[in-house]
Symmetry: C2
């Protein structure tokens, strides 16, 4: 395998060492401050599109002098380009418009969450898919699965037509902060250091996160979702991705969002592979739902099954929505199952069981990002980690 170095010095993490205000955890040097301000400029251009240096200065609170200096640096790195003068009727010297150079880098996004297929794509800096590659999983597990991922990355590296900013991977299971997949039963992984392995192999920045968290991030960046929301990912299993204050929430042991095996209801329920009865997965996972629907004898009966599943999801979500003051719930998964009686039952149940009507609106909707959602979220993670932009 080739070893490809990311071409610019910029491909490092900028911005401050993370950590919240209450717990300053490491020193900050002036150069870190500069990295932060640099990201701020980039972020402004990312969100607002074409802007002049003076516009950015007003927006960020930095002086025109400082912005000019930062922009000069970004232009040298190829991340920003001048687009000529603004053409409007204002007194004063006309402004030189700047734009984020969408052709500076490409990003590789990988989705390992499907049951029988690995999906990947080359994306541009705006998160648009440039080209796709899919690899059938063929029941690969353990090291075989890891090799399939590496092969997928390799083919995407070859397909890329610009320098690669980094590789983002959305994996099922529990993924820790270092991109180690602690457990992913379907892929036979336990403590699989996927991020380190790929980073070493390709010499590129790699970020591995949980698939549902990636999806939530994508929904926020591209689907217009609120900065506090939960995304429910229904597939072979059931998982959730949490976005709190605009950032994915991973939890102290990296297992946030693992709600598939929370028991819902007080009336028993079907036996689950985990040994308990009435887990959320026994109501919602697609194999179970498909089977239940297949045995339905009328469309009314089918709807009843879907409504029941939706009610169960609503019952489980109500305490979470209440405790976290969420305004938005997004569903991701097979549209034919989720988008209809099921979704209606979820929102009705949520409204009936929380104070949503007092706290403000509570909305529930299907994702609009389709099957690209995880790949695109993984790309956002790269964008955010490498450029401080999202």
């Amino acid at each position: 395998m080739t070893t490809q170095k990311s071409p610019f010095a910029v491909a490092r993490t900028h911005g401050f060492p993370s950590g919240r205000a209450l717990r300053p955890s490491s020193k900050v040097l002036p150069e870190h401050a500069r990295g932060h301000n640099r990201s701020l400029v980039l972020q402004t251009l990312y969100r607002a599109g074409q802007q002049s240096r003076a516009d950015i200065a007003r927006e960020t609170g930095l002086t025109r002098v400082t912005v000019s200096d930062l922009v000069a640096e970004l232009i040298v790195e190829g991340l920003v380009v001048e687009m000529g003068q603004r053409e409007d009727a204002r007194p004063g010297k006309p402004a030189t418009l700047l734009e984020l150079n969408a052709l500076a880098f490409q990003i590789i996004g990988i989705d390992l969450s499907e049951y029988a297929i690995f999906r990947g794509a080359v994306l541009d800096l705006r998160g648009r898919v440039i080209s796709r590659v899919e690899v059938p999983l063929e029941s690969s597990r353990g090291a075989d699965a890891t090799a399939k991922v590496a092969a997928l990355v390799q083919s995407l590296v070859s397909a890329a037509t610009l320098p690669i900013l980094g590789v983002g991977v959305g994996s099922p299971g529990i993924v820790d902060r270092d991109g180690v997949v602690l457990t992913a039963p379907n892929l036979g992984w336990t403590g699989e250091p996927l991020q380190a392995t790929l980073a070493e192999q390709f010499g590129l920045p790699v970020l591995v996160i949980n698939d549902a968290n990636a999806a939530a991030l994508a929904e926020h960046s591209f689907g217009g979702a609120d900065s506090d929301m939960i995304l429910i990912k229904v597939g072979h299993g059931v998982g959730a991705g949490l976005l709190l204050d605009g950032s994915p929430f991973f939890g102290g042991r990296s297992a946030a969002g693992e709600i598939g095996h929370v028991v819902v209801g007080t009336d028993g329920g079907a036996a689950c592979v985990c040994g308990k009865h009435g887990c959320l997965e026994t109501w919602l996972a697609t194999p179970r739902l498909d089977a239940a629907i297949a045995s339905a004898e009328s469309s009314e009966q089918k709807n009843t099954i879907l409504r029941e599943a939706g009610q169960r999801l609503g019952i489980a979500l109500a305490p979470v929505v209440g405790a976290l003051d969420l305004a938005e719930v997004v569903l991701s998964g097979p549209t034919e199952l989720l988008d209809g009686p099921l979704a209606e039952a979820v929102i009705e149940t949520l409204r009936a069981r929380t104070m949503a009507e007092f706290h403000g609106d509570l909305s529930l909707r299907m994702t609009t990002l389709g099957e690209d959602i995880v790949m695109r979220g993984a790309a956002v993670m790269v964008l955010s980690g490498q450029l401080g932009v999202s």
Copy 2:
């Protein structure tokens, strides 16, 4: 009323503009970086006790030169004092030990969460209670209640024997980021700008936050709680305080933790003041529990009632614990009700309904901080906001 200015320039917020790594939101100047490093030094002294400049340098990663400079500033401000030389047998020039000056400031902490009484205290920088004042509420509501709070603060300002770092207030109801009490039914407040009012009146930094959030913060700082936990506060109502990544979580509309009116169970339940049936409060709020127990005819019957309440709490918490990957649940409220069959039922129910056994330990315990918990948490908020220490 007197107007008292906080005596030192230090009594401003240091550290970086809050906000997470993913969303740089405002510029950072070198002086902000210095504020951050200053807090880092203070934090080191706060946590580790006596330390030399060289110790702090090693701990923080800053150089001895920089640490000396920051310490000199802190000594001038009176926040740090030299304690003489370290007396141990090591080669080299003996170290000069430094200590956080516990006599630099005092903090005023206020607890408005009790139904019939306002509590307040003067606390030292370590969060220890120096003196207490209590004011009977006598059913005051609205402006009367506000006046009672102001009077309480006034008497504590008079009782303080050192300059006051700030005033922290834990209020029931929904409190926004600016310290406006959006709704607090028991006190008859709607959009009450308590923080601004008190700050103006006393010329001191004031921070108003939700009572349960304050309690959670106290439990973390003084009770040894994990940095991801939920504290359930049972009293006249039921509320929760969330600590995520070591910081209180407020939610997008400041209503995080408001779980009292989440419906629990699928079997109806008692009517609630909110109009729904089976809200968590109908099972757990002390008036209801007391009444139910009073009508019990045997201790077995009483235990059954308590166990039932605990199960309900467990059912409601399971999805939250699962979704947030929490390792710790803390109960605060009347010991005679909570600490026994109720608590046992909660943890049993949680273990039975989550994957806790796979994710690691899940512990549940009573708070050890008694009735000072909210005041002390409010004080931590001040400490954190003014000095970056907690």
